[in-house]
């Protein structure tokens, strides 16, 4: 895979990865062994027939390869860019045992981009209208998938989105330099072309309740409202000026275009020395966004070691190349401010990993040693919670943990007519698992409405497995 020069790319928001050239793609495709028992498929949350799609690439039938992927995955141009392939398909690829796995993600992206360069997206056949109305709440990968799959079957679909634009985390969370927004818009246009109505600025639970939607003739409701609400540590100083929760920081830039202030009205504070707390994708994205806003020094504070970092591996490498530094085994205790109430420094304790417990996990524990980093800005990226409004508005809905919806593999909740999937049922996970949940939910909604009895406990091919996350 080709990447832009780190010194150049860290100054703008353009995409960092340039994907594969045709020659590279062919070389990667040829390196696939076309295994009889392909282990890569076991690693894929939606079980794409990977060797099959790669065999199309080998034959230079790129659109054929793309068509194969689309049988399983509605968002190939997105997933090719953001899936954690190293723990999924590529992590399982037999070639990785000795040497390098096949670059499956890059190939997925290659065929999707190939079509984009051609300019035309194939619009699949849409079955004639069946007159059944379904409402989809939330326009992230889960909601978009349910909407697209049911629209193809002839359903009358309305997607309700709380924000002023559709896309969910793909739009307001993942930055432009990793997932260009024109790609997200293209995916949304595609869903609209299937006849899906997309209504923005409607906060379901407030603008309309679920009961009202049902009264208005929606036969089932799919809830895909995500888990975008920020978690925080609850340490002193978290509300000082220039302490951001990552969700706010990223939303300002990605959704509101604050990096282009004052051309756009929403500002974001630029700072010289920035510390980001966390080790996931959200932390990497925040750190690299801060850098692009002009920060001189950006460091990441994470309480375990590099091996445990949940972020995509490639993004850690990219961050390092761009000059971001890492404080591993470090746990923030306090953020201190100046007399005006602005961030001055962050005090951390040094951790070590415990001996593995029964589950084999090694937990960070304090060594008692402390250190202080002088900073102008702190960004908290330590995880997400469920989006509260809709979930709180439905009485009798079974929840678990911090307000996540209990749903089975087919997206069924304890309430008839109400289905759910994506981060709101699993907690913050991945694009592909949200999409997979959407696919299964679409099937089970179809079964429910068509009166085919209980949704199958063994869902039909090709989507079979729950995300491994």
């Amino acid at each position: 895979m080709r990447f832009r020069n780190p010194e150049k790319r860290k100054k703008d928001f353009k995409e960092v990865s340039l994907g594969l050239t045709e020659k590279q793609a062919l070389k990667e495709a040829l390196s696939c062994l076309q295994c009889k028992k392909p282990r890569c498929i076991d690693g894929c949350p939606v079980e794409i027939d990977i060797p099959k799609f790669i065999s199309f690439v080998k034959e230079k039938d790129y659109l054929g390869g793309l068509r194969k992927i689309r049988e399983y995955n509605n968002l190939p141009s997105v997933c090719g860019r953001v899936c954690p392939q190293e723990t999924q398909c590529q992590g399982n690829c037999i070639k990785g045992k000795k040497g390098r796995p096949v670059a499956i993600g890059a190939l997925e992206r290659f065929v999707a981009d190939y079509e984009m360069v051609l300019g035309e997206t194939e619009t699949p056949e849409v079955q004639s209208a069946n007159g059944h109305k379904v409402a989809v709440i939330g326009s992230g990968p889960a909601g978009l998938t349910v909407a697209a799959d049911l629209a193809k079957l002839g359903y009358d679909i309305t997607v309700f989105e709380a924000l002023h634009e559709a896309g969910g985390v793909l739009l307001y969370g993942i930055p432009e330099f990793r997932l260009p927004k024109k790609i997200v818009q293209r995916e949304i246009e595609y869903v609209k072309r299937l006849g899906v109505k997309m209504i923005v600025n409607w906060v379901i639970g407030r603008t309309k309740t679920i009961d009202e939607l049902i009264e208005e003739g929606f036969e089932t409701i799919f809830i895909g409202v995500g888990a975008g609400a920020p978690r925080y540590l609850g340490i002193p100083g978290e509300n000082l000026n220039n302490v951001y929760f990552a969700s706010e920081f990223l939303t300002r830039v990605n959704l509101m275009k604050a990096h282009r202030f004052p051309l756009y009205d929403t500002p974001v504070k630029k700072a010289g020395r920035v510390a980001v707390v966390g080790g996931g994708n959200v932390a990497m994205d925040s750190a690299r966004t801060a850098l692009r806003l002009g920060a001189e020094e950006v460091s990441i504070i994470y309480r375990r070691t590099e091996t445990e970092m949940p972020s995509r591996h490639e993004e850690v490498e990219n961050a390092k190349e761009e000059g971001i530094t890492f404080h591993f085994l470090s746990n923030p205790k306090e953020i201190t401010g100046d007399d005006r109430g602005w961030v001055q420094s962050i005090r951390c304790e040094r951790m070590r990993l415990s001996e593995p417990d029964e589950s084999g996990r090694r937990r960070p524990e304090s060594t008692g040693e402390e250190f202080v980093i002088e900073v102008d800005q702190v960004i908290m990226a330590i995880g997400q919670r469920s989006n509260p409004i809709l979930v709180r508005s439905i009485s009798g809905l079974n929840l678990w943990g911090d307000g996540y919806i209990v749903a089975d593999r087919d997206g069924k909740t304890n309430l008839e007519r109400i289905f759910a999937g994506g981060d709101i049922t699993t907690g913050a996970a991945t694009v592909i698992s949200a999409m997979g949940a959407g696919k299964r939910a679409a099937r089970s909604i179809d079964n429910f409405i068509m009166g085919r009895g209980e949704p199958l406990s063994q869902p039909p091919e090709p989507v079979q497995s729950q995300s491994k996350h």
């Binding site: 307001y172 906060v203 969700s247 275009k257 509260p388």
Partner: protein
């Protein structure tokens, strides 16, 4: 797109707009707010729903022109459209039969009290309204309040209307004379702080409506976080109304200064150009 049906200037720098938004009017309750974005490049700002009419499908917003967005909003005319409005958001004011309620409004915040006044009155409460402003011209909706209030007290800093002085003096007298069940204060932060400090020793339940910076307004970013009794809460989903005795006003005051420079810069640029991308009727 949301069409502006009426627009009036009701006090210097204070405008009122009636907007066609049937789906928001349907559920709007006293204390709710909307988040609005004027155009493609606009910021999302929260504005309290000052009034709503389910039958006509309209909401009424009141705003003081203090920054770029509100200045730009003030330049729109009936027939123009606002790109995005989402709501109603936030918890509604708890409406029950409390007994004697005192509503304290300062400056433009007063308007926010109007739907609360109507609802509390309908619930059978006896209501004293105390409105305060720097000067007579800045008093908002006094006549509308008189329709529902059992008692109206006006205070101005310069004595140009009602009594000279602050709302807190009038409030103190009221609390000492009568058995007050609840005080609801909406207005500048300093006023709400003074009111909360005043009522605390009397043990009178006091509700204030906080106005931190917001981004999306649906609990997903944490921009609007406030410290309530030592706990972090989100004003957009947990509030915007909170127990005044629990609010860390100092922290909020500081957080409200976070973007002062950028706000001034944006306003300056805007006022020198006075150009706004308007979406008109057609």
């Amino acid at each position: 797109m949301f069409k502006i049906l009426e627009k009036h200037t009701i006090a210097p720098k204070v405008d009122m707009m009636v907007i066609d938004a049937p789906h928001i009017a349907g559920h709007a309750k006293a204390g709710n707010f909307v988040v609005l974005r004027i155009n493609e490049k606009g910021e999302r700002i929260p504005l309290t729903i000052a009034d709503s009419d389910k039958r006509k499908g309209t909401i009424t917003l009141l705003f003081q022109k203090v920054g770029k967005t509100t200045e730009a909003l003030g330049m729109l005319k009936p027939g123009n459209k606002i790109r995005d409005i989402a709501g109603p958001l936030g918890h509604a004011t708890p409406i029950e039969k409390f007994g004697h309620c005192v509503l304290v409004g300062g400056g433009i915040g007063s308007a926010t009290l109007y739907p609360i006044l109507k609802a509390l009155k309908d619930a059978g409460n006896k209501i004293t309204v105390i409105l305060g402003a720097r000067t007579k011209d800045l008093l908002v909706w006094e006549d509308k309040f008189r329709e529902y209030a059992d008692e109206m007290l006006i205070t101005t800093d310069d004595g140009s209307s009602g009594r000279k002085g602050f709302v807190t003096e009038a409030l103190k007298e009221t609390i000492e004379k009568k058995t007050v069940a609840v005080v609801i204060a909406v207005g500048p932060l300093r006023m709400m702080k003074a009111v909360s400090e005043l009522t605390k020793p009397y043990g009178v339940k006091t509700i204030v409506s906080l106005n931190p910076v917001m981004v999306e307004g649906t609990g997903m970013c944490g921009a609007c976080r406030v410290n309530i009794g030592g706990k972090t809460r989100f004003a957009c989903t947990d509030g915007p109304e909170f127990d005044g005795h629990e609010v860390d006003f100092k922290e909020l005051e500081n957080r409200l200064k976070f973007y002062k420079e950028e706000e001034a810069q944006a306003l300056h640029l805007f006022l020198t150009k006075k150009k706004i991308q308007v979406t008109s009727n057609e």
